[in-house]
Assembly symmetry: C2
């Protein structure tokens, strides 16, 4: 979070910046990157493709990278710019980075480059970076910053203010200041306003509240984001197993984590695999897109073969009552649609924390009722359509409207009920098995219920037709 | 955002709270609701069904509703509790609410009840509520709070601190204080630390930066959330057309807006309609779930009829080369899957602001290449499978393996390419037509490309088989 004194009056429109960046006019490009908010510059850069972006990064003067902009850029872009700079300027750029952004960059670069970059840092930042690099990227520790207000409980208000004044440009969130005991034990927090408006000789330890809400350094980043959202926090302290304060995760990190997780869920729901990484849609190459999508496409294609084999097995039924082919795609698709709906409902409810692990039977029973009602309603609608609107010309010899209506209607009821159940149960089972529930979502469920739909339809048809 | 002095040491587990709430032990229930963080109590309440929740709300003593808890509860729950209270207690509960939560509640209640509740408020809150009620629920104005630090530029630092000290428990975010001119014109902002560490006789107007970043009161709430995320803000000022400061939207509102919008997108992608409202999954009745899902299910079922009609039209081809039925579901499903992937990619990229309105041709050209490569790869894989692994026994007289492989392979190429194009283009077209891009997502695209898939497959088959 930028806390420097730089100021951005009403921001420039991102469209305008993109236009300038695409203009080839170096003076205007440099000017707009200086004047625009770095968040908008980053967003405009994301809309360019690889070649254009590299040209712009190359063109911008290196002092621009020693400003706030550096904390908004993708780690990959920072790396590219660094490679073009002499060592002294590299050091200045690295020094301008917030420690959480710096660690992101160090995680991104190659194993050979990492020690070289760390070497360039001032001594204090070297130690911090090496400490932060220990933690996994997706944990609270991997996401936290060590720049925070931290005061020992034995300080007076006046001493605390003096300490904070010295670090006032460094710390990310001075509105939450943490009070620690010996050994950096987290004791509670105090607000700047309590210090500013407090008796100057009072002890900080006496003024602090004893709110020790915190997260373990090894916990999942998503858990940290959920706590920040649920408790409306500005910053969440990160502690080790002994309760020592190591850093904080701020509300803007939480927002980023939420965006990443929502994107991941949506992609999984649509059968897009692998890490999205930090690249935007346009930054990802055609081959990169193919790589992320082909896996599921291939697996699902061969799963769909099963439906074909079922249809092939029932050759006799289908050839004898060819009119049945008209309603086959409908029965199959109704299963896919309702199964997908149920899966999305459950997956989203789980990520919003609305469903605890003990809720399995309750959810399954609820979805069974929803599925039966949906299936019955749909079955009746379609049976009525068949009875009154199906043209006689499509009927073969021996076909009876009422029997076709019965086959289709009952199949819809059976297919929608089972599909809704499968769609609801699979994500719950996946979670119980410690898998990401979104993995088993829509495309896999759809393909699975396509097969069950064909079987239901033909089995029912051959039974009913044979009885006629 | 709660800024009162209430303190919550390490929070109780939500599971534990749910267990206690379900225990029927009144003393324990009241105790746990007092001790637990209100954010967790709200989450535990969301996991109960309607009857249980009402019983608990009834059981809890009314003074608990005059604490922080009231600002975490759903407006619907607050309303239910209010109905059971005498007027004096109603007034106290309403007075304990933050003004943005209060306005949510007033928006929720019936038109008759609204003036009665407003009547109960202290005079100052009456005026604020009536002002806030003018704005649409989903706009910046409908979401903002008027509780903020606001200082006239002509104040000295000492005067500003005195003003802020008086309002220190009221204002949501004292770490961002806004400086206004005559007529409440937004001039810039100043941080509490700048006041706390500044010269006491200096003028606030001289210390403030001239950051006038703000949002118009009528703008969409999503735009406000995007600005807060992009610029890493703690609070975004809301102004009217004359630039007068009306209120702020805080970072925790932005997080809520993001969650709501992500849920809405995911639901639309899966063909779930209507407003989710504030009800959780379990709080929504079986009938409520059916209502939100049946619309799309019915429409899609009748759309799927088109595929059936196509299959029926090609009766002769299918009966002559019945082996083709094995690969039909695969060709159809491959289109649905790739079209859905493309749609999700584009919809998500648009909501993350990665795609500007000028990007249409670039995206469509990119997806065309992605689709062709995916289709070609898949076509080759499946053609090889047919050539070498399809058992002779399923072949009819006159079927030739190589010709079947050609039909299926080329169909897959054509189907995947067109489906990917359709999946990418429809959300872009929807946005250009000012529709929500997610409306045209997966289920509709899937059904559409199912039809095109059947046509491609049979047209190609009849052409190729006839030529043989």
């Amino acid at each position: 979070m930028p806390d420097s004194a730089t100021v951005y009056p009403q921001p420039l429109d991102v469209e305008t910046i993109v236009e300038v960046l695409e203009s080839d006019d170096e003076a205007r490009i440099v000017d707009v990157c200086k004047r625009a908010h770095p968040g908008d510059v980053e967003e405009a850069l994301e809309r360019l493709d690889d070649g254009e972006r590299e040209a712009i990064l190359h063109m911008l003067p290196s002092d621009l990278f020693m400003s706030d902009l550096i904390n908004y850029l993708d780690a990959g872009d920072v790396e590219k710019k660094l490679q073009t700079l002499p060592e002294t300027e590299q050091a200045e750029v690295l020094d301008a980075m917030d420690d959480d952004e710096l660690v992101d960059l160090l995680q991104e670069v190659s194993d050979e480059q990492r020690p070289q970059l760390i070497e360039l840092l001032p001594e204090k930042k070297q130690a911090v970076s090496e400490e932060l690099l220990q933690f996994e990227e997706e944990t609270a520790g991997g996401r936290m910053t060590t720049a925070m207000g931290k005061i020992h409980e034995s300080c007076t208000v006046a001493e605390a203010l003096a300490i904070l004044e010295k670090m006032k440009e460094e710390t990310e969130v001075l509105s939450r200041i943490f009070v620690v005991g010996d050994n950096d034990q987290l004791i509670g927090k105090i607000r700047l306003r309590d210090l500013a408006f407090g008796e100057k000789t009072a002890l900080v330890g006496n003024l602090a509240d004893d709110d020790q809400m915190s997260i373990q350094v090894g916990a999942d980043q998503e858990e940290a984001a959920n706590m920040i959202a649920r408790y409306d926090l500005v910053a969440l302290p990160v502690v080790d197993a002994e309760g020592r304060l190591l850093g904080v995760i701020t509300h803007d990190d939480a927002m980023e984590i939420f965006e990443e997780e929502a994107t991941e869920d949506m992609e999984m729901i649509s059968g897009i695999g692998g890490e999205r990484g930090e690249l935007s849609y346009l930054q990802t190459s055609v081959f990169g897109h193919v790589k992320r999508r082909f896996g599921w496409v291939l697996v699902l294609a061969f799963l769909a073969l099963a439906s074909g084999v079922v249809m092939h097995m029932y050759e006799n039924v289908l050839k004898a009552y060819y009119v049945l082919v008209i309603y086959l795609p409908m029965v199959v698709a109704a299963g896919g649609n309702t199964g997908g709906q149920a899966a999305t409902m459950i997956i989203r409810a789980m990520s919003l924390g609305e469903l605890g692990p003990g809720e399995f039977t309750r959810v399954v029973f609820k979805e069974m009722r929803v599925g039966m009602i949906l299936g019955a309603l749909l079955g009746v609608c379609v049976a009525v359509q068949i009875q009154f609107l199906l043209p006689q010309s499509v009927l073969g010899e021996g076909d009876s409207l009422i029997r076709i209506a019965a086959v289709v209607g009952i199949s819809l009821l059976a297919q929608v009920t089972t599909s809704t159940l499968i769609g609801a149960a699979l994500p719950l089972i996946a979670r119980a098995a410690k898998l990401d529930p979104a993995v088993v979502a829509s495309p896999a469920i759809t393909t699975l219920v396509d097969v069950s739909g064909s079987i239901i339809y033909f089995a029912l048809a051959s039974a009913l037709m044979a009885s006629g």
